[in-house]
């Protein structure tokens, strides 16, 4: 039954060129095709300039998408008369730089922006703002009236995420969510995302140039290089092809780097390891055998 439903998001031979038709045109994505099913947790990974952000923008029709290339719930988002406002209420994006998506000066007002624009009642908006801020560790009574500009970078990122969470979008897209966060901030954000996945039937898409966080959060990787999809598959399957990954300027997870080194000793050492515990277990196994 699951398989008969259309994928929640699908790219079919998607291509995009910035400033197309001008002398400054630059091709960002060429012939990218993949689908994302409801409830999936997908990491879109690749080095800078590989086209991650372009793909993110295409999901919410923030670029001139050509017809027949991007589909949401089976419908072409570029067809005439398609309700883009509704699409943007369903696909929530947390951008790389939180400052660009914060609209209001005051924390509470900013988080309330989306629900208000979507036409929710004042009571429901308030409830969602309170819930989102509390979820992100910015207690509502304390932060509601704080000025956004007076907050730290990490806190502003959380406000940006709260603003998207308050929309309760079925799809949550995070573009480099860990950039600029300290280890504690990273850990907290990871925990939060785990919790959200459990609580809501969320389709999660994480873009990153680092596989470390993405490998913990996602079930599947779509690997981009120079604007094309070069690998697509379950996390462990992708990690097994570590030598291909290493050529792509992507930060590999620590256990994978360790395992790759150990291949010099044990040529068949597996590299699809997600945690240090898994690496340790594998090493113990090898030593035991030797």
């Amino acid at each position: 039954m699951e398989d008969s439903a259309p994928p929640i998001l699908e790219l079919r031979h998607f291509g995009y060129t910035y400033l197309e038709g001008t002398p400054r045109a630059s091709e960002a994505i060429r012939d990218a095709s993949f689908e994302i099913r409801r409830g999936e947790r997908v990491g879109i990974v690749g080095a800078t300039q590989s086209g991650k952000s372009t793909i993110v923008d295409s999901f919410a029709h923030l670029l001139r998408v050509k017809p027949g290339q991007v589909f949401y719930e089976g419908r072409d988002i570029a067809e005439p008369g398609y309700d883009r406002a509704r699409l943007r209420r369903e696909v929530g994006i947390v951008f790389q730089r939180p400052d660009s998506q914060i609209i209001e000066d005051v924390v509470g007002a900013d988080v309330a922006f989306g629900p208000t624009a979507a036409g929710l009642s004042a009571a429901e908006t308030r409830e969602r703002v309170e819930e989102s801020l509390n979820t992100l560790g910015l207690p509502y009574p304390e932060y509601r009236l704080r000025y956004v500009h007076a907050l730290s970078g990490g806190q502003r990122r959380r406000v940006a995420i709260a603003g998207v969470l308050a929309m309760r979008t079925p799809v949550l897209v995070l573009d480099e969510p860990m950039a600029g966060l300290d280890p504690r901030g990273r850990r907290e954000l990871l925990e939060l995302l785990f919790r959200l996945q459990d609580e809501r039937d969320l389709t999660l898409i994480v873009c990153s140039a680092s596989l470390t966080d993405a490998s913990l959060l996602c079930d599947r990787f779509v690997v981009l290089d120079g604007g094309t999809v070069v690998m697509d598959g379950p996390v462990r399957e992708v990690l097994r092809e570590v030598d291909r990954l290493a050529k792509l300027d992507i930060t590999l997870p620590e256990p994978v780097i360790g395992a790759r080194e150990l291949r010099k000793l044990f040529p068949d050492f597996p590299t699809d390891l997600l945690t240090e515990d898994e690496l340790e277990a594998e090493i113990v196994k090898r030593i035991g055998a030797a």
């Binding site: 923030l62 951008f95 998207v164």
Partner: protein
């Protein structure tokens, strides 16, 4: 979607590697100056017709598509048209020349003629300066201006600093336009529909971007200052150039050609 970079090309540099791109920046600046003077001396349609031929030639040699410039100048041209309409309507002409008259508004042949010449003059100036910026990189433009105004340094004028401020101001325009685009995209994602609604609603939404743009502008300026200080920028005194500019004979020939062409256009 909002793609301002297509519609406002002011300050952009497009490297096509043409002959004009490779010309000495100082010569290009002098030629631009010749054009500016010529635009004020030439006062009839035949003269501007001759100028137009030269502009077309420059356009072809530069290998920058005309469509790109026209598209990138649409806001400017719309604004110019708006001003010219006022110029025509309020022109105080001779009573005998009125084609149409109502209250204090009128259309006279003289008014149309003056507005036409004025329009051509402004388009001429705009095209020439736009071409200068499209074909000259930031570094060349700065070096060229510094070298041209170097003699003024004897008068204790801070030439290098003034030139730098001028060039930064121009080259920040495309950066800001990119920034506006990025902000608009992020806000659209949150439910501000920049790509929907009428002209007035759209304009009002752009107003929402002003505060963040100002803030990011100050941040950028601050970063730039720090970057310059850490690299020990201290103005022009005692500074030597790594890349020396050298005007080739062909550059001088172009200057001579432009001068001759403008004199012909002025005298006919």
């Amino acid at each position: 979607m909002l793609e301002l970079q297509r519609n406002v090309i002011f300050g952009q540099y497009v490297d096509t590697g043409s002959f004009i791109h490779r010309m000495d920046a100082r010569i290009k600046l002098v030629i631009t100056f010749v054009f500016v003077v010529a635009s004020f001396l030439i006062g009839d349609f035949i003269g501007f017709g001759i100028v137009l031929l030269l502009l077309a030639l420059i356009q072809i040699v530069s290998r920058i598509p005309v469509g790109f410039i026209l598209r990138g100048s649409q806001f400017f041209l719309a604004f110019l048209l708006f001003i010219l309409v006022f110029q025509v309507l309020f022109y105080p002409g001779e009573a005998s020349n009125y084609l149409w008259r109502w209250w204090i508004l009128s259309v006279s042949t003289e008014g149309l003629y003056t507005a036409g010449i004025l329009g051509l003059r402004v388009i001429f100036l705009y095209h020439v300066t736009t071409m200068l910026m499209l074909t000259t990189s930031l570094v060349d433009l700065t070096n060229g201006l510094e070298l041209i105004f170097a003699p003024l340094q004897r008068l204790r004028l801070p030439v290098n600093e003034l030139v730098l401020v001028f060039v930064i101001a121009i080259k920040f325009v495309p950066i800001f336009i990119e920034e506006i685009e990025r902000l608009a995209r992020a806000q659209t994602a949150r439910g501000v529909p920049f790509d929907q609604g009428g002209a007035v609603t759209r304009a009002r939404r752009i107003g929402r971007l002003l505060v963040p743009i100002f803030i990011s502008g100050f941040t950028r300026a601050d970063t730039l200052t720090t970057a310059m200080n850490t690299r020990s920028y201290r103005g022009g005194r005692g500074r030597t150039k790594f890349r020396l500019m050298e005007a080739r004979p062909s550059d001088w020939a172009v200057l001579a050609l432009v001068l001759a062409w403008m004199i012909v256009a002025w005298l006919v």
